[in-house]
Amino acid sequence: MDILLGSIQWNEILMGGDPLIVGSQIAIGLTMLGILAGLTFFKKWSWLWREWLTTVDHKRIGIMYILAGVLMFFRGGMDGILMKVQTLTPEEKFLNAQHYNEIFTTHGVIMILFMAMPFLIGLMNVVIPLQIGARDVAFPQLNALSFWLFFVGAMLFNISFVIGGSPDAGWTAYFPLAGKEFSPGIGNNYYAVAIQIAGIGTLMTGINFIVTILKMRAKGMTLLKMPMFSWTSLITSIIIVAAFPIFTVALALMTFDRIFGTHFFTISGGGMDMMWVNLFWLWGHPEVYIVVLPAFGMFSEVIATFSRKSLFGYKSMVGSIVGIAFLSMLVWVHHFFTMGAGPAVNSIFSITTMMIAIPTGVKMFNWLFTMRKGRIQFTTAMLWALAFVPNFVIGGVTGVMLAMGAADYQYHNTLFLVAHFHYVLIPGVVFAVFAGLYYWWPKMFGHMLNEKLGKIHFWFFVIGFNLTFMPMFFLGLKGAVRRSYTFSVESGFAPLFLVSGIGAFILAIGFGAFCYNIYWSARYADRNISNDPWDARTLEWATATPVQHYNFAKVPEVKSLDAFWHMKKNKVSLDISEDELEEIHMPSNSGQPIIMASIIGVAGFFLVFEWKIAALIAAVGILVGLIVRSFDYNDGYHVHIDEIKKTESKWRKVTKGVNNNVG
């Protein structure tokens, strides 16, 4: 055993001492037992395995991503609330410095990588194939593997605070601090390994969606007839493929440094800590656009639908996302103007950064003018899109202020910066996710989310958000720095920190309303809704709600932008005659992705604990998995015409004359 796992101090593996952590351990343990007991009692194991764990259906994978996103939002939100409680009053003793450091680190990582990413990738999964008129993504089984790798990575990262210790060097994990020289605990091994596993999943998603969008569009859908969300997803996927490998390499080097004693980023042995900072932001900045571009796409869909107009300036919208994607790779130095790279470097990166404001401004005005002359319906989805505009403008203009290298010397690492990026990421991403969820929920589950609860969710969240982060701009200008677990009475920060803390609780109530809405709507919402409850414009609404597993009995032909809208205008019937039906070729479910990802998770866990031989043995399992996959000749099955007939007639009959929720 000793050879396998090294010399283990068992008492150090399970974290103890802190009542918060022990409480969480007990809660996690009980929840796990509860879930296992429930599954056994209700005999749901085989259902779970058959319908969900082995599924390759893009819609179900999307739903699992979204559920994971909700879960991670809860975890990351708890971290945020704990931070806010700690800074509610000066010299608060609620958390100590070490605990606070761990919490802001996991808050950052979880919110970006395990909350924003799965929400967006989840919605992309659900919507993109439908929107382009495809029956699944290009590589369904790879898609399942992407999800399970993400999930395993997220879980591995999340157990850190109860098993072995959390990472505590910030979500940016700057060297030399994040190295063994200054963080000898294994917390940052979790960072290196868990994010790596999830990142590989994301990279494969990127490839998958590029191929899906380029190769699987419905007949007639040229690139410039593609809905905006499909466009932004395509560009996002391209950025993923361009940027994630940088992070993969950086994390691998970090792993070597931390676990095998190399000197890439250390201060001894000729390492170069600044190299980490550069590599991190070479990925990190494009990552911002990876999360924000799909969000822009969702806003475009929602705003067009509820203004009842087509998107204003479609071509300039496409041009500006391509422009943003291009510029996103050229601005990373603005995260460390203060490193002293010299005036020429700082000037150039100030200019490239400010240039991003140009295409973003174009998009902003295009959205505003989409609404002009429209008939704006204030559904919950639309409210999120509307709230995005002013809030994101505040994030945007403060971004321009930060982009000015010389001025950044005063803002850098202060709460001004923290306020700025929350004003970009929350309106830009979280509002979009909510808009998208309220909008596409019927597509996923066959019922709407409750509008009244949705509005409670909206108002609490938006007001809470502004109360939380607006004071931080002023705190930053007063000299309050980020990541500081406390502040003195004399600093004069107290009133603003108090307002900010109260805001966080209002924000949390908003999120609570959302969770309750999911529960309430699942139980009580009307199931008898039309396939097109919003009177929408794109192809995903041209099929059943919830969507049948093969998506389209017959893939519609696309003649213009907003294809479904024009089909409705021109009274093109969705009805299909029986002789048009053909058998549909669909991919088979597979247990390989989840098994493979689990083995990778186990190998990752051993690597985190530096039990190298055990990790090596588990790695053999990965190799075996790859070999098994190579000899897998299952190329799917055909859906029988009778089954198609039955499914189609069911939803087509129901749809006649059902209540439209809008209009």
Partner: protein
């Protein structure tokens, strides 16, 4: 359906409220006490004017559009027109941001270059040099010309440009005195420079802004700008009264600890300048152990470990041989 106006009003109401809650104290960035901070403030103010313009235009347009085109019962049958865009409008809102960006770029680049030099109006004054070394979790200031060293406070002559040479003994930090100017990173085996000048005598707070572990929150120091006479007197006083800085004492300063103010005769530059590429590395990984499972620590040849447990025990006996055999070999430089 509830109108959008309510949202706007509540949103707008937040802003004055925040100003009110914040007005009892000052915003240090807006109260510059030296030419560098003033230069930056000028830039910030200019950007605020332009950004306010953007905010007013977008918010105004936003409010107008959602109010005017909202869905009302009498507009129930209104069918919005097919509209695909407008080249003239789209060109307008491309060109205007370009103009704004240009209007911001020119002063930004000018300031970036200005901040690297002795500030205007002080060119004829001979700058003094102070070496700043950040360590976990304290600031060490060396006066190479005067031959003294201070910890966690720095006295400078008012009206004289100070050239701070910044480096770090370990983790990366950021040296920031917001009243006097912007910040810059301190990095091990790397030297950055920052010119700061205080117009008048006064005391200013400085701190680290770059997170570097448990002791980060308290990593503050004070800058006291003194009249040149007082500064001279202080130097004399230190030279006469302060204890001599020994290599052993210096190495104990580098331990991850919090220290109060300290003053020494002599500087550590006599034996190590952390800003040099081939300088010695001082590491104490054992002292950074916190809770949780501990990983393997790698020993490096070029590393001078301050003390291990044995040495600590010896220190207590008062027969310290500290550092004698621990300095190890210098980095071969072959990297």
């Amino acid at each position: 359906m509830k109108s959008k106006k309510g949202f706007l009003i509540s949103f707008m109401a937040l802003i004055p409220m925040l100003f009110l809650s914040g007005c009892d104290t000052h915003m240090v960035v807006f109260e510059p006490k030296g030419p560098a901070a003033r230069e930056i403030l000028g830039l910030i103010n200019w950007s605020l004017v332009l950004m306010l313009l953007v905010v007013v235009v977008v918010f105004g347009l936003f409010g107008y559009i959602i109010w005017k085109y909202r869905d009302r019962p009498e507009r129930k049958d209104y069918e919005p027109p097919e509209e695909h865009g407008s080249t003239a409008l789209e060109i307008t809102w491309t060109v205007i941001p370009i103009l704004i960006v240009i209007a911001l770029t020119i002063p930004t680049v000018k300031s970036i270059y200005n901040l690297e030099k002795v500030p205007k109006g002080y060119e004829n004054k001979k700058p003094i040099t102070i070496n700043v070394t950040s360590a976990d979790w304290k600031w060490i200031f060396s006066y190479p010309e005067q031959g003294i060293e201070t910890v966690n406070y720095v006295n400078i002559p008012a009206g004289t440009p100070v050239k701070f040479k910044l480096t770090s003994a370990g983790t990366m930090q950021s040296f920031w005195v917001p009243a006097l100017g912007g910040q810059k990173y301190t990095m091990n085996k790397m030297e950055t420079q920052l010119y700061l000048t205080a117009d008048k005598p006064g005391e200013f707070l400085g701190r680290n802004t770059n997170f570097n572990g448990r002791g980060y929150a308290d990593m503050e120091f004070t800058v006291e700008a003194q009249s040149p006479q007082k500064f001279k007197k202080w130097i004399e006083e230190v030279k006469n009264t302060a204890p001599k800085l020994t290599e052993k004492k210096y190495e104990s300063l580098l331990d991850p600890t919090h220290l109060g103010r300290l003053t020494f005769n002599g500087t550590h530059l006599a034996w190590v300048d952390h800003g040099k590429m081939d300088s010695k590395t001082y590491l104490n990984p054992e002292k950074y152990r916190v809770h949780g499972y501990q990983g393997q620590i790698f020993k490096d040849e070029d590393t001078s470990k301050n003390k291990n447990k044995k040495d600590e025990a010896m220190n207590m006996d008062g027969h310290s041989m500290d550092g004698m055999d621990m300095k190890g070999e210098k980095d071969g430089g072959g990297h």
